[in-house]
Amino acid sequence: MIKKLSAVLLAGALTFSLTACGGSSDSVDKETPAKGDKKVIKILHWKQDNINKAVEEINKKFEEKYPEYKVEYTTTGPDDEFKQAQRARITANDVDVLADLSGMRLSPQEWTPGAKVPDWQQWIDTGLIADLSGQAFIKNYNANDIEKAGTYNDKVYAVPTGKVAMSGLFYNKEIFEQNGLSVPKTWSEFIKLNDALKAKGITPIVVAGKDVWPLKLPVFALQAKILGGGDQQKWIEGVWKGETAYNDDEAVEVLDKMKTIQDNYMIDGFMGIDYATAPSYFATGKAAMLADGSWDAPTVAAANPELKFGYFPLPATEDAAKNASFVGKYDVTWYAAEKGPNKEGALKWLEFFSEPENYTTFVKAAGFIPTQDNIQTESDFIDNELTPYLGDFELAYEIMMINRQNIGEHLAAEGVHTEFLAPGGLYKTAKELADIQQKEWEAAAPK
């Protein structure tokens, strides 16, 4: 009897050791490449080829300089998939350096009762994010940028690594020249340009509608220049206080102008084009313009190195002077986790990253406008295409907007979602969508 029992125990032990093997080999996996006592620094980021490569290069140099560390650089799909990973990893205290999709968005104000508290703010309030105020490397960055995108309650928690323009259109210089067209300065010039292209049988604009969020980009230009007569902040405060509304004239004009573009000048089937494919349409001359953020310039260039292209702000109004500046955001913003496995390593990595030499590598590859002063990007694109329009660089609506909790889908994720407009969507006119939005805004008001 005892014999049988021991046989059973053995069998049981075997099956368990099998699974235990699975469990332990995981820790082995993590430590073998590190050899000995290397301390792992876990960095979480999203996939964007050009930036990933630059970060990997920096990581390699970092490991050479500090052999006691091993960097584990994980990338996930962009947008929602990244947000999910970000949240899971910080909640599990399983990350040391964490990227965010933009600099700090505005947190709730006195005039926004019941507003949605952004994740980063809840993380800081729960003590998950390290305070960087005293760190020497913060001084490498432009104080104004740190103040705008990395500071909360007078303490520095984040490092915004660069600015990007979002409201522009890439344009094919060759196509423009061949047809005697020039960069439009006003809305009516812009419409004329599109009509001229159409008359020549050229598709004016390509955009990655399948991913939906790229549709927001041209809208940011419209919102920044039209809402509140060009003062978004005023309009946003107004909408909280009931002085402006999602269905007032200005807001409807924004939707209406985007509808005009979507209906007439976008490539057929733009709602089926995904974000990764859109640049190749533009780069191969299938469309004269591409609605995309300036960060994608390296991708466009890589897709067709021969292509001569420029970037101009979408002219939202008839006032050329008002139109002549970009709307954008701070892109990739690093946080260090307070309770991660290796906070000290995280700070060391950020310090290394912030050294002007490494930072230059990064910002050049990323195509960002630097947030450190005196950095030579040696980028014709930035010098010739972006700099002329950086005078009144404004933050985009999605950064400025403070949303209500449980807001409806037509206003969710701090956007106005023109994908809901016909013909793709179900709302036939801008006004119809605007009315729904206002209704949802009111329904989300705290009770």
Partner: protein
């Protein structure tokens, strides 16, 4: 009674049973009950956060705030999904099972092919149909163009995306239902049919009066599987449209609110509870209906 000894040996079955029992309680039963409790609290997805009971607030948030319209649409979508999938999938599966069961040549091959999508899994199936339904280079759009002179956006269309997802779901699981029907059909003795043929009963009559009552148990199983499956599936939505273009269902919303929504965990918990209640309702109705039929014959 128990033939494998006395004393301690008598307890070996129970001891071994405790392993699956423990797994079940720790990973499923416990969390399930806890989710119900969470639905009445303000628990957050933050480490070490405490929580308080907030009564029915989460349920109120679900149905009386800015996005309650979407909640209702998710419920309606879930119901459409469930009804269409249950009816079409089982209808087609039963039809094909009956056809294959009449000793067609190559029946093993057919049923192997029809079951294949289950083997491939959701991630692969979604990609395969993503390729078929590619609006730019996809073969289906070319076919549409040739046949009707019409182009579709497929998974990028507000009006059609959900329909295509339902199609893919049925395509994927039809073979599964078919297999269960086939198993039921093969348990029907062949001489029963032959007796029917001599009597001169028509095919339909023999199916209705001889076959169907005998395969009623497989019918019940298939009904339950498709109802529960359709009500709780979200991976196919995640892999095709990711919930865009009005394709969200309750199960998708639970996932989305848990992992991508706000950090509040009470809301998805409440949504889970409502989803459970709806499933329960339909399962009870379905079981009653099919049981009635089994008794009738």
């Amino acid at each position: 009674m128990y033939p494998f000894g006395k004393g301690f040996n008598r307890f070996i079955p129970l001891l071994l049973l405790l392993i699956p029992m423990a797994l079940y309680i720790v990973f499923y039963f416990g969390p399930s009950i806890l989710t119900v409790i969470y639905s009445f609290t303000d628990v957050k997805n933050l480490p070490g956060s405490t929580y308080q009971f907030v009564g029915l607030d989460n349920y109120k948030d679900l149905f009386f705030s800015g996005n309650s319209g979407e909640r209702w649409r998710s419920i309606i979508n879930t119901l459409i999904f469930m009804f269409v999938v249950t009816i079409v999938q089982n209808g087609v599966a039963l039809f094909i099972a009956v056809i294959i069961n009449q000793r067609l040549k190559g029946d093993y091959f057919y049923r192997a092919v029809f079951f294949l999508p289950v083997v491939l899994g959701v991630a692969v199936v979604a990609l395969i149909w993503g390729m078929m339904f590619d609006p730019l280079n996809g073969p289906v759009n070319r076919l549409y163009d040739v046949l009707f002179g019409y182009q579709d956006m497929f998974f990028g269309s507000f009006t059609h995306a959900f329909g295509y997802i339902i199609f893919v779901q049925i395509w994927m699981y039809m073979g599964y239902s078919m297999l269960i029907f086939l198993a039921g059909l093969q348990s029907v003795p062949k001489d029963l049919y032959e007796a029917g043929h001599i009597d001169g009963t028509s095919k339909w009559q023999s199916f209705r009066h001889i076959t169907f009552p005998l395969i009623a148990p497989s019918f019940t199983v298939n009904m339950l599987l498709s109802i529960i499956g359709a009500m709780s599936t979200f991976d196919i939505i995640l892999a095709t449209t990711d919930g865009r273009f009005n394709t969200r269902t309750m199960a998708y919303d639970v996932y989305k609110e848990t992992f991508r929504g706000s950090l509040e965990m009470g809301l998805p918990s409440a949504l889970s509870v409502i989803q459970f209640l709806i499933i329960l309702l339909f399962v009870v109705v379905a079981v009653r209906q099919t049981r009635k039929r089994e008794v009738e014959y």
